[in-house]
């Protein structure tokens, strides 16, 4: 009884806040799996590679609609692409700021848009490679390659950013993307 009570109070305590709704989490991990499968495991020439590409682009399309009509932390308005805010955040970081952002922090927000655009670019160039007019055209294939390399860099930076922010704020961000809740330390300022 005591143990249950403890779990439930932790779920509801003032500093344990539901931020990522299930749809955001499902799309995030589906996209991660699609990228890993297409980048590492699935044969590039196979039709499965094409279908995974459509799947990934479809996921982003759904996420974009959810960004317009979705829950408060999932909306674009919660994490607008704002380079000025990102620079300000960077300056604040160098001063040892420990503010916790309920949605993405300004730099993380830029990374989110970057990854979505890169996957869309991969989808477009990948589709073009399969069309008659662009089949075998060098620059399309190179663009597809470069977009993929950029995506790998972005994902490494993304994971690095997650680890850094977990260390900086003490909020376990990975588990927030699994169970949806950010557990925020007592003395952290929230934005």
């Amino acid at each position: 009884m005591l143990v249950n009570d403890k779990i439930v109070s932790e779920r509801l305590s003032a500093r344990n806040i539901m931020v990522w709704d299930p749809l955001v989490r499902l799309i995030h991990w589906s996209l991660a799996i699609a990228i890993i499968l297409n980048g590492v495991i699935v044969d590039e020439e196979s039709s499965l590679h094409e279908w995974m590409g459509y799947f990934a682009v479809g996921l982003i399309g759904i996420r974009l609609i959810w960004g317009l009509i979705g829950s408060s932390h999932a909306k674009f308005s919660a994490f607008p692409p704002n380079p000025v805010a990102a620079i300000r955040h960077l300056v604040a970081l160098s001063r040892g700021d420990k503010t916790v952002h309920l949605s993405h922090n300004p730099i993380g927000a830029l990374m989110v848009y970057n990854i979505w655009l890169t996957v869309l670019l991969l989808g477009i160039t990948g589709y073009m490679m399969g069309t008659i007019s662009f089949f075998g055209v060098d620059w399309v294939e190179e663009a597809h390659e470069m977009a993929f390399n950029w995506l790998v860099c972005s994902i490494i930076l993304h994971i690095g950013g997650v680890l850094f922010d977990t260390w900086r704020t003490g909020v376990p961000i990975v588990s927030a993307m699994i169970n949806g809740r950010k557990r925020i330390l007592e003395d952290s300022p929230i934005e």
Binding site: V8, L12, Y54
Partner: protein
């Protein structure tokens, strides 16, 4: 104890199910739209009955997805406001309990035991948790009941219940 918060946990599960359905249905919609566009590009025309039906199916799926997304957002909003309300109510409840304890002039250890009593823990478990003899806990309980001028556990609880229900009536 978990049953008290069951509505929230049940809603969380509903949100997960709803999200999964939205995702699958949206992917189906995208598939159908893609197929319609492909057929059109292959020289099919909209007077083809098969294509019309496919187009209608796609539209119905999109409408369904948008509707379910609205439902999901409403559900998430309700969950958030319920959690917020519970948090506020908890804060108020703690303040109320503290003020009663102050009024009764309970000692620190009596306060602790009184809290455990309110949480529904029996004397046996309290003595184990605090590492004291059962007799000591019993004596402390008697002291608490005497200070609160009640006959026992149930009456102690009812003081706070009454206070809560009263507030509701007055408003």
């Amino acid at each position: 104890m978990i049953a008290r918060y069951f509505p929230i946990i049940k809603r969380e599960r509903r949100a997960v199910v709803l999200s999964t359905i939205i995702l699958l249905q949206a992917l189906c919609a995208i598939f159908f739209i893609g197929d319609v566009i492909y057929d059109l590009s292959q020289g099919d025309h909209l007077d083809n009955l098969h294509l019309i039906l496919e187009g209608l199916a796609a539209l119905a799926l999109i409408a369904g997805v948008i509707y379910l997304m609205h439902e999901l957002r409403d559900l998430l909003d309700r969950m958030a406001s319920m959690e917020f309300g519970l948090r506020v109510a908890r804060g108020e409840m703690i303040t109320l309990i503290e003020s009663f304890f102050d009024h009764w002039q309970l000692t620190p250890s009596e306060r602790e035991i009184a809290f455990l009593i309110l949480k529904g823990i029996d004397n046996d478990a309290i003595s184990k948790m605090r590492g004291t003899a059962q007799g000591t806990v019993r004596a402390q309980c008697t002291q608490i009941y005497a200070k609160a001028k009640v006959d026992g556990r149930t009456q102690l609880l009812s003081i706070f219940m009454e206070e809560l229900l009263h507030v509701g009536e007055e408003r």
